[in-house]
C-alpha cells in the first residue's frame, strides 16, 4: 500500500481490516480513529506523493508490512526508555514517536548513544509537533489502548521474517564548512553557554552574533563519515545562551555547516537515491520551512514533516528513511 495522505474514513477502514499502521496527523483527526494495531503522532505538515502540504483533515499513513511474525506496541517515558532496545525483536525494527521538549525527548536524545545494543536493529522515528500558528499541544497516540500522551513516547516493534532485514538511510544536505573553527563542548546538553572554539574558551552566543553566522545552518559533527546535524533553536544574547534542537556531546568536534545557495536544488541532488518504496520516511520541519517545501515536489520524497528525526539517535534537519530488504 502506498504511503501517503488518506481520509479519516479510509484510515478507519484500514485499522478495522487489522492493518499495522504508523500514522501522522492533526490531533483532532487522530482522536477519531478506532483502536487497533497503530501508533501515531500529531503534525499537520507533510510531503505527500505530489507535493508538500499542510493538512488538518487528512492522515499520513505508513503501512508496516512484513509484520506477520510479531508486533508489540509499548509506551515509554523517562523511566523505561532505555528498555527500548531489549523490547525489540531479534530481527526487526522499531518505530518510535516522541513528544517534543518533554523529559522523554531530552532523555532519549542524551542517553541513546550509551544504550547497549542500540545498533542491533534499526530504531527509526520522529518527534511529533503542531501547527506553528496555533496553540495546540503535540501528542503521541497508542492505537492499541486508545490513549494519547503529551509527555510519553510510543513505539511499535516489528519482527521481520528470517529472509528479510531492515536498514536506515539518512539524507543530509549539510556538510561541514572546512573554513569553520572547530567547536568542542564541555557537557552533553541542549543548551550551551561557553565552549571551546579553536581551543579557546568562548561564549557561543556572542561568537555567533559577532561573526553574523546564519543560524539556519546547523552545527555538524562527523560520525565516521556521517554528517550529523545539531540545529540552533534560539540565541539568547541577553543571557549568553544558545539553545539547540538536539544535544551536542562532549568529546565530539563540531563545525558550522557550509552555506547553501539553493536549498531545493541541494535537496534534489542529495536525495537522488531516495527509495520511494521505503517503509517509513520523514523530513525535518526546518528543511520544510527554510526550503519552502510547501507545494513543492522534490524527487519522490514522502512522509510526515517532523520536529526532530530519529535514526538510532535524535537528528536535526535530516531526511530519514527505513527500508526492508530481502537477505
Amino acid at each position: 500500500m502506498e504511503s501517503q495522505l488518506y481520509s479519516v474514513e479510509k484510515v478507519k477502514d484500514l485499522i478495522n481490516q487489522g492493518r499495522v499502521l504508523a500514522l501522522a496527523g492533526d490531533e483532532r483527526v487522530l482522536s477519531q480513529l478506532p483502536q487497533g494495531a497503530w501508533i501515531g503522532g500529531t503534525i499537520p505538515y507533510f510531503m505527500d506523493i505530489d507535493k508538500g502540504k499542510f493538512s488538518q483533515d487528512m492522515i499520513y499513513v505508513n503501512e508496516l508490512e512484513d509484520a506477520d511474525n510479531g508486533i508489540s506496541i509499548i509506551t515509554y517515558d523517562e523511566n523505561n526508555i532505555d528498555h527500548i532496545v531489549n523490547d525489540a525483536y531479534d530481527n526487526g525494527y522499531s518505530l518510535l514517536i516522541i513528544p517534543p521538549f518533554q523529559k522523554i525527548h531530552h532523555d532519549f536524545a542524551l542517553k541513546a548513544e550509551d544504550m547497549d545494543g542500540l545498533y542491533n536493529n534499526p530504531i527509526v522515528g520522529w518527534v511529533c509537533g503542531i501547527d506553528l500558528n496555533a496553540n495546540d499541544t503535540p501528542y503521541t497516540f497508542n492505537g492499541l489502548s486508545g490513549e494519547k500522551y503529551p509527555d510519553k513516547a510510543i513505539a511499535i516493534h516489528i519482527e521481520l521474517p528470517e529472509t528479510k532485514f531492515a536498514q536506515i538511510e539518512i539524507f543530509n544536505i549539510f556538510e561541514m564548512d572546512e573554513n569553520s573553527p572547530e567547536i568542542e563542548f564541555y557537557i552533553d546538553s541542549f543548551d550551551v553557554v561557553n565552549c571551546l572554539i579553536d581551543g579557546k574558551d568562548t561564549n557561543l552566543a556572542t561568537y555567533i552574533s559577532e561573526h553574523k553566522l546564519d543560524i539556519k545552518l546547523p552545527l555538524v559533527a562527523d560520525y565516521s563519515g556521517a554528517s550529523i546535524n545539531v540545529s540552533i533553536k534560539e540565541i539568547d544574547l541577553e543571557n549568553g545562551m544558545v539553545s539547540l534542537y538536539a544535544p551536542v556531546f562532549q568529546g565530539k568536534k563540531y563545525k558550522f555547516a557550509k552555506s547553501i545557495e539553493d536549498y531545493v536544488q541541494r535537496f534534489e541532488v542529495k536525495t537522488i537515491d531516495y527509495n520511494s518504496d521505503a517503509v517509513f520516511s520523514c523530513n525535518c520541519i526546518l528543511n520544510y520551512l527554510y526550503g519552502e517545501l510547501e507545494n513543492k515536489k522534490i524527487n519522490k520524497i514522502k512522509g510526515p514533516i517532523t520536529f526532530g528525526e530519529i535514526a538510532y539517535q535524535l537528528l536535526n534537519q535530516t531526511l530519514v528513511s527505513l527500508s526492508v530488504d530481502e537477505l
Binding site: Y119, N120, I168, E169, Y186, V192, Y223, S224, G225
Partner: protein, 230 residues
C-alpha cells in the same frame, strides 16, 4: 554476496583504535563505529568485545547498502566473491566450486572456506605475534606509559572534581597539587582546566534554564512553541 572478514583480522582493531580512519558510507556502520570508539576510549568496553559485537552486526547487516564498499575500503579487494572485486584466486575458487557442485559441493566448499578462514586467521596471528615480538619492549613501555598517564589523569580529574564540590580552601588545594612529572604534563593540566570549565558550564546552563522556565510559564505553552521558529 559480501564476505565479512574474520574478526581475527587486524583491521577490525585498527578501525577502533584510529589506525584505520576511512570515512564509511553505510549509516549503521558509521554510527556503530563512532559509538564503539567512544566506548573503547572511555574504557567502557575492551577492544576485543567491541570487535566481537561489530563483527556480528556486520554479518547480520552484510547486505545493507554500501556495506560492501566499506568492507572493501577497510580490508582491500580480497573480501568479495563477486562484482569488480574478483581477483585470480576468486576466479579459481569459482571454477573449483562449479566442479564440486555435483559431488557434495556444499560440504567441500564449506570445508575449504573453513580451512581458508583458519589459515587466514593463523597467518594474521603469526604476523601479529612477529610484530609484537619485534616491538614488544618498545610497545609495552609505551602502552604502560600511556595507560599510566591515562589512569593518573583520571585520578587527578576526579580529585579535582571532589575538591571543587567540597569547596576546599586554597591551602588544601595546593597540598593536593600533582607533583610527579606525568601529573604536571600539559595534557593533564588541560584536562583539569577543561573539567573545571565543564563544572562551570553546568552551573551556568542550570541557572539560565531556571530563568527560562519562569519565562516560559509566563508566556504560555502555545506562544513558546511559536517562538522557536520566529
Amino acid at each position: 554476496m559480501i564476505h565479512i572478514p574474520p574478526k581475527e583480522r587486524k583491521e577490525w582493531r585498527d578501525l577502533l583504535t584510529g589506525q584505520i580512519n576511512v570515512p564509511l558510507k553505510n549509516f549503521f556502520f558509521q554510527m556503530k563505529i563512532t559509538q564503539a570508539k567512544k566506548q573503547v576510549e572511555k574504557a567502557k568496553v575492551t577492544v576485543e568485545d567491541a570487535v566481537d559485537e561489530i563483527y556480528e552486526l556486520c554479518v547480520k547487516f552484510s547486505k545493507a547498502k554500501y556495506m560492501d564498499v566499506d568492507i572493501q575500503n577497510i580490508f582491500g579487494t580480497d573480501n568479495h566473491s563477486g562484482g569488480k572485486a574478483q581477483d585470480t584466486n576468486l576466479v579459481e575458487q569459482t571454477i573449483e566450486e562449479k566442479d564440486l557442485i555435483d559431488t557434495k559441493a556444499k560440504e567441500k566448499i564449506e570445508r575449504i572456506n573453513e580451512l581458508r578462514l583458519k589459515e587466514e586467521a593463523a597467518k594474521q596471528q603469526r604476523e601479529l605475534d612477529n610484530q609484537r615480538e619485534a616491538k614488544q619492549d618498545e610497545q609495552s613501555t609505551k602502552l604502560d606509559k600511556v595507560e599510566q598517564i591515562r589512569l593518573e589523569a583520571q585520578r587527578v580529574i576526579q580529585q579535582r572534581y571532589e575538591m571543587e564540590l567540597a569547596k576546599r580552601k586554597m591551602e588544601s588545594k595546593q597540598k593536593a597539587e600533582p607533583k610527579s612529572e606525568i601529573i604536571q604534563s600539559p595534557e593533564v593540566r588541560k584536562d583539569v582546566q577543561n573539567f573545571k570549565r565543564m563544572e562551570e558550564e553546568k552551573q551556568r546552563v542550570k541557572q539560565l534554564k531556571k530563568k527560562k522556565v519562569v519565562r516560559k510559564k509566563k508566556s504560555g505553552f502555545g506562544s513558546f512553541f511559536k517562538s522557536w521558529f520566529n
